[in-house]
């Protein structure tokens, strides 16, 4: 037992920028792995925040992400109970891997508190044992006070060749920590086996605790260009800040914090932990989280199957039927189906690249979207019309808004909605409707105790989500 430590200067930095193409079609560029509720009832990013909140006040939790993902992550964190309203966000001007992202966060937090200590955590890791990690963070905090860059080592479960290993060195006095002797990225199988047998090598968890001051010092030494850019951005006038920051950030070479600093620094400490960590690096991870049938198949959703074995079946809405498959994955979503041998699960990145090349929407987003007030599903899309099924949670209000290019019909099919159009209020029950002309100010609200379901039919020459002018919003958003 460590007892109660004073953690006043501890801030959580969650790396939330990952695009997670490897779980496509379950993940999309705008619904990356960390936002999926595949591995339990909460998403990985919510689990990460809720875990850290046991130790760190919510307002001291910072998520580093891109402008592009900001709305998605914020909507997601607001949309579930409890809504996470106090989280703060640090926007990467451009995606440059974790090295620049971590230094950006350190730079910002150092300005806030010269003694700040950062706990850096990926947003897309699965961790079973929250308490074990929390205890380890407390230890790490103490070690970080001694100016170490602390990392957590996971006991290797198998001779995995896809991960990085850290070798334990001398133990650090008065702690469970060790100096890190060496880093080895993606060893061959023979080496990986030796590492596992030795008991002295641990998987690099990608989680760190260090002083902002120290990581910036090491950054100055090993990634001077990044520190230089951060300094420049800080001196810009506010006016063009966004554009200039992006350009400046783009001049940095992308590099991970591991390659960029941890592997080079003499100050790295490692704390071995046993936290029930699981890899969710590809769709085959579903096998780790769901029960198998007697022929070792995982079946999630509406699956009808004859004589298959060792396969993964997933469907979020439709019927999937299969006959006589072996070692295959069939992943079915509202707008796309993937069929692929399990052993080639990693190659799904090729499909995503092809879709991106063709500018096919299926790489970018799902048909369903989450909002703080509820959710919607795009049912049908034509040249000049769209049909959505919208769900508004009890007591929730959408922003007061107008659209310059589309009219909307709302037909309530369940629950009771309150709509305000051009200043006039109206209550709608199931089977009743309202019409919102182009440019009319309108607002939708669920004053009731059960969810409102409504069908929205949009008509117009331009139907982009960005055709929205907001007047009042409960969630502090500028756009939907």
């Amino acid at each position: 037992m460590e007892g109660n430590v004073n953690l006043d200067h501890l801030f959580a930095v969650i790396l939330g920028g990952g695009a997670g193409t490897r779980l496509w079609p379950l993940s999309r560029e705008l619904s990356p792995k960390q936002l999926l509720k595949l591995f339990g009832t909460d998403s990985l990013i919510r689990k990460t925040v809720l875990r850290l909140k046991k130790l760190i006040p919510e307002e001291n939790v910072f998520i580093v992400t891109s402008e592009r993902l900001l709305d998605e992550i914020r909507n997601h964190l607001l949309s579930e109970y409890p809504p996470l309203k106090k989280i703060q966000y640090i926007i990467e001007p451009a995606a440059r891997n974790t090295g620049p992202a971590v230094l950006l966060a350190a730079w910002e937090l150092f300005k806030k508190d010269k003694d700040s200590i950062l706990g850096v955590f990926p947003s897309d890791h699965y961790i079973e044992n929250d308490e074990a990690l929390i205890e380890a963070i407390k230890v790490a905090y103490e070690v970080a006070q001694k100016d170490y860059l602390v990392t957590f080592g996971l006991k290797p479960l198998r001779p995995e060749t896809g991960f990085g290993y850290i070798e334990l060195g001398n133990s650090i006095q008065n702690s469970n920590a060790y100096q890190a002797r060496s880093f080895v990225e993606k060893p061959d199988l023979k080496k990986a086996k030796e590492f596992v047998d030795s008991g002295k090598y641990f998987w690099n968890s990608g989680m760190f605790v260090f002083k902002a001051r120290i990581i910036l010092e090491e950054g100055r030494k090993f990634l001077p260009k990044v520190i230089e850019v951060l300094g420049e951005i800080d001196t810009f006038s506010d006016e063009n800040k966004e554009k200039i920051s992006e350009e400046a950030f783009l001049s940095i070479d992308p590099i991970s914090i591991d390659y960029g600093i941890m592997e080079k620094s003499e100050r790295v400490a490692i704390i071995p932990v046993d936290i029930g960590w699981k890899d969710v690096g590809s769709l085959t991870a579903l096998e780790e989280f769901y029960e198998k049938d007697e022929r070792r198949n995982v079946k999630i959703g509406n699956i009808v199957e004859v004589d298959s074995e060792d396969s993964i079946f997933y469907s979020d809405s439709r019927l999937v039927a299969a006959i006589g498959l072996s070692d295959l994955m069939v992943i079915d979503t509202r707008d796309a189906t993937l069929v692929c041998p399990k052993e080639r699960a990693q190659e799904v990145a090729k499909i995503v690249a092809m879709l991106k090349e063709k500018d096919a929407g299926e790489y970018l987003a799902h048909r369903h979207s989450v909002r703080p007030w509820g959710s919607f599903v795009l049912l049908e899309k034509g040249d000049n019309y769209q049909v959505k099924l919208i769900k508004v949670k009890p007591g929730m209000k959408l922003s007061e808004q107008l659209h310059n290019h589309r009219s909307e019909h709302w037909i309530v099919v369940k629950g009771t909605a309150k709509v305000t159009i051009g200043g006039k209020e109206k209550i709608l029950h199931a089977g009743e409707s309202a019409f919102i002309q182009v440019s009319a100010r309108h607002r939708l609200e669920n004053p009731g105790k059960i969810p409102v379901l409504l069908i929205e039919v949009q008509s117009g020459e331009y139907l982009g989500e960005d055709d929205i002018v907001r007047f009042r919003d409960e969630f502090g958003r500028g756009k939907d």
Copy 2:
């Protein structure tokens, strides 16, 4: 050249009752194989009718089908250009295979014309060379005049073990026809090879030409129970005819016309034909109709694929992505996906049986339906609401109707619609809507030159298609 024969007594009898589970999920119980537009721009049943119309006036073409399929077939034949309005229908009181169906047709046509000669044709065969068949029918007509039961023999393309073979006997004077020496159903591979090598065995095409009088005579000999039932049905009063007919028909054992009569009769003649016939008995038939890529894959629809070979990909609306598949079929429709090795294509019947057992809608019907006035797609279905995308062809009118259990909202998203609700006419353009209260008489019409697209949102406690009271209909229907 046969010259112009007098074909006054020739009637076409098309067997349209087949349920076609073997092409699921492309076929459904209410969208059987013969209605699918998979093999060219027309369905197999339309092709069959259009082919026969070159020889036989449309009003002398009879389709034998079930009560259940009648609407589907009629809607289908009316919905395409040219609409086939004069076709006549003979309803099987119960499905009892082709033996009773053919005798029923012969019975009805004999009453109409004592000298009638029936050309009996399946509705779900693919035939490339219409002219060759037509010439063969003319020859067969002459041979049938001599009281033969004429069948057409297809030159075997391979030693197929799933078909029936007919052995040629002595040739019949003054014709290209032969007496049939023997029938062999589904021979083993060794025998099938001998048959093919001999040049004397032909595949049984399932197409026949014979006098109604003669097939009824043979029926009396080999299927006396069927003839007895037909006689009984004929003497019933009109009042309960439907119910009594069904019961009487159900007392007949199901049997094919081949097993029941052709294989037993001494009067069978065979005319060898070369008509470009293709088997469409399973989904692998797609390989015969679509071009293959350089790795021998067939790809139909929105397919993105890496490194697959010898596979079949079909998608009617969504994206299908595949990596590294071999000899597999992926068949994707709006509500169901099938994944199955090509060599197990026949086993799809097991899936259909499982769905039927569970009463899952996916065995019964597609999400899209054809009507004489256009078509619709079911976009979403909830407990007490449904959303459809409806397409009305230019100049077309739906029936005047009302619903006792649901209200409807219509939102036009393309074209110009005329709606009449409770006697009041209204013109709707894209973006405009109408509301139809429960029990209000209403009618929808497209007075324009381009198709009307509209979204229909139904709300109510009961949403079955049978909640419809029709007042006036352009298509002579009692229900939709």
